[in-house]
Amino acid sequence: MTVTPAVIEEEEPTKKGLSFKFPPEETEMGLIAGIIGAVIVIFTGLPAVIKGVGLLLVLLWGMDSVRKTSKYGLGTGVPSIGVLGTGYGVVGALMGLAVAEYGRVGQLYPAVLVGVIVMGAIGLVSGIFANGEKFIAMKIPRLERAMMELGMAGTLAILLECSILTGSLSFAAVVNNVMNTGLIALLFIFNCFAMLHPYNACLGPDERRERTRMCAVEISGLICVLLGLAMIGLGTSPYGILDGVSMIVFGAIVWVVYFRMFIKACMDECYETVGTGIIKTLE
């Protein structure tokens, strides 16, 4: 499945506290994050922290899809893939919100998943176009699936963030609280960075999936802090100010734990960590 890093993974003895193997496989990750994310998106009445957990899983999935798409050797193009995923996400979220009112039961919005499915289909089609012999014929392994997952993860992430900020998924509430206030810019750019930055920051021949994912979780923690601040500012949550505060605390804990873990993993796994030193002289 994986080509070079798989060998490295086995060589590396998993040091205590540095392995982060939940869930181990890309397919399992996609299934778990997709199902949990979709369920949390539908139930908009949940407290923000639970939506934050869903967001974390979905962004981890999105990062995995970016990694899958760019793993064949894309260098400077990695950020573009993350932005592409978020672009899919914004379009899909708008589509889902437009049909959200159909089949609504109280605080349940099952129809928003139409946007997720349509974006998955669009991603699949664009992947087929990019890979197909008759069209662009890029022949990147497993590009179709990666593009499909990218669209779905991006859409779920934007929908979850809208649901965190507004407490519902009705089109008018989202337009008033997210679009008109300009917070959509915050959602867009941080979604991009949660998906593109981990793989972009860990790019190189000795990249390891577990380490990259620690970075993704760390950025999701930062997003939770910012969303908590925005929630307190907007004051839209049905649970009052406590919802925003709990979101900030949750995000801060996640950030501290995973930032430490990531930096420690990097310092342990790199060639050498030295206080200072002169560069190696070339012969």
Partner: protein
């Protein structure tokens, strides 16, 4: 001329000046962390055996990363403004004096977090090329990066604030920008990053790396990593590069961005003035079309003048310094 119009032009000049400062520091920040300027060289250097003491700040491209800092600063400043402004009715600027620096500080922290993760991550991913993580490089560059980013983000957030309140500041609230502060920060962040990324990269290329070659061309790619190794005295780090770029590259970048903002705002303002659109906005009638037409004609004139000036300048340079060998 009515005082509102004079004030509008004055604020436009303030915005152009802030844009100049912002883009100067943006270029220096990218030099300090090798984000765009010698980033591909830093990335490749270890792979061709040139182990270096450079900071590898790979936070995507400059437009996106600057958009991120400016959006963060704009969002937090906007949230604080919403809380503070009702406390000081009639003197809203007091709220801005407090809110903007706090927002920018938060953005700077986020910048430093992302810088640290990208440096450590990329160096750890180059294990097989024997590139170590030098802790003094990591700690010693984070604060300069944060300081330069603070200046950029601060100026951009100020521009966004002035723009979203320009009508109130000059006495006619109808002229306020329709976009909210975070969205303006996003647009300006993308712009400042794009200009900083494309202009003023004097560090690698003709000006420094290949000074012994005419017009700096013609060396094999494998030698490009050498740019990361030794400075005029001792081992090179990015603090040397920022000092070098400050002399010419960074002010050049700042001037590019400042001039773009100045010409762009000036032509639209003059167009609005000539079209009878200022100081009070009339309903959208034929006057609006006239304002747009005047603005576009002025813009075309500016572009033509710049093109002619550029042509004359390049001709003069070619005559003075000989033909370009690379052609």
């Amino acid at each position: 001329m009515p005082i509102e119009v004079v004030l509008l032009f004055a604020w436009m000049l303030v915005i152009a000046f802030l844009a100049f400062i912002a883009c100067t520091f943006e270029d220096l920040e990218s030099d300090m962390g090798s984000q765009s300027n010698p980033n591909s060289q830093v990335q490749l250097a270890a792979q061709v055996g040139q182990v270096n003491r450079f900071f590898n700040k790979a936070i995507s491209g400059e437009p996106l990363s600057n958009a991120m800092y400016c959006v963060t600063a704009g969002t937090i400043a906007w949230l604080l403004l919403r809380q503070f402004e009702p406390l000081v009715p009639g003197e809203e600027w007091k709220a801005a004096v407090l809110a903007i620096p706090i927002g920018v500080l938060a953005a700077t922290m986020i910048n430093m977090i992302f810088s640290a993760t990208s440096h450590c991550g990329r160096t750890a991913a180059q294990k097989r090329f024997q590139q170590p993580i030098y802790l003094d490089v990591l700690y010693g560059h984070l604060v300069p990066i944060g300081a330069h980013a603070f200046m950029t983000t601060f100026c951009i957030t100020c521009i966004a604030y002035i723009q979203s309140n320009i009508g109130t500041l000059s006495g006619n609230p109808a002229l306020n920008h329709p976009f909210a502060l975070p969205l303006l920060g996003f647009i300006w962040g993308i712009t400042v990053g794009a200009i900083g990324s494309s202009t003023g990269d004097v560090h690698y290329g003709a000006e420094r790396e290949f000074q012994d070659r005419p017009f700096g061309e013609g060396k094999r790619v494998v030698y490009h990593g050498k740019i990361t190794r030794y400075a005029e005295c001792g081992v090179r780090t990015q603090k040397d590069i920022a000092g070098f770029c400050l002399k010419f590259g960074a002010p050049c970048t700042g001037m590019t961005f400042g001039l773009i903002i100045l010409f762009e705002s000036w032509r639209s303002m003059v167009g609005m003035q000539l079209g009878g659109f200022l100081p009070a906005l009339p309903a959208f009638t034929a006057t609006g079309d006239m304002a747009a037409i005047f603005g576009i004609v002025l813009g075309l004139l500016i572009v033509a003048a710049l093109m002619v000036g550029n042509l004359v300048f390049v001709k003069w340079v070619r005559k003075k310094y000989g033909p370009f060998v690379g052609v």
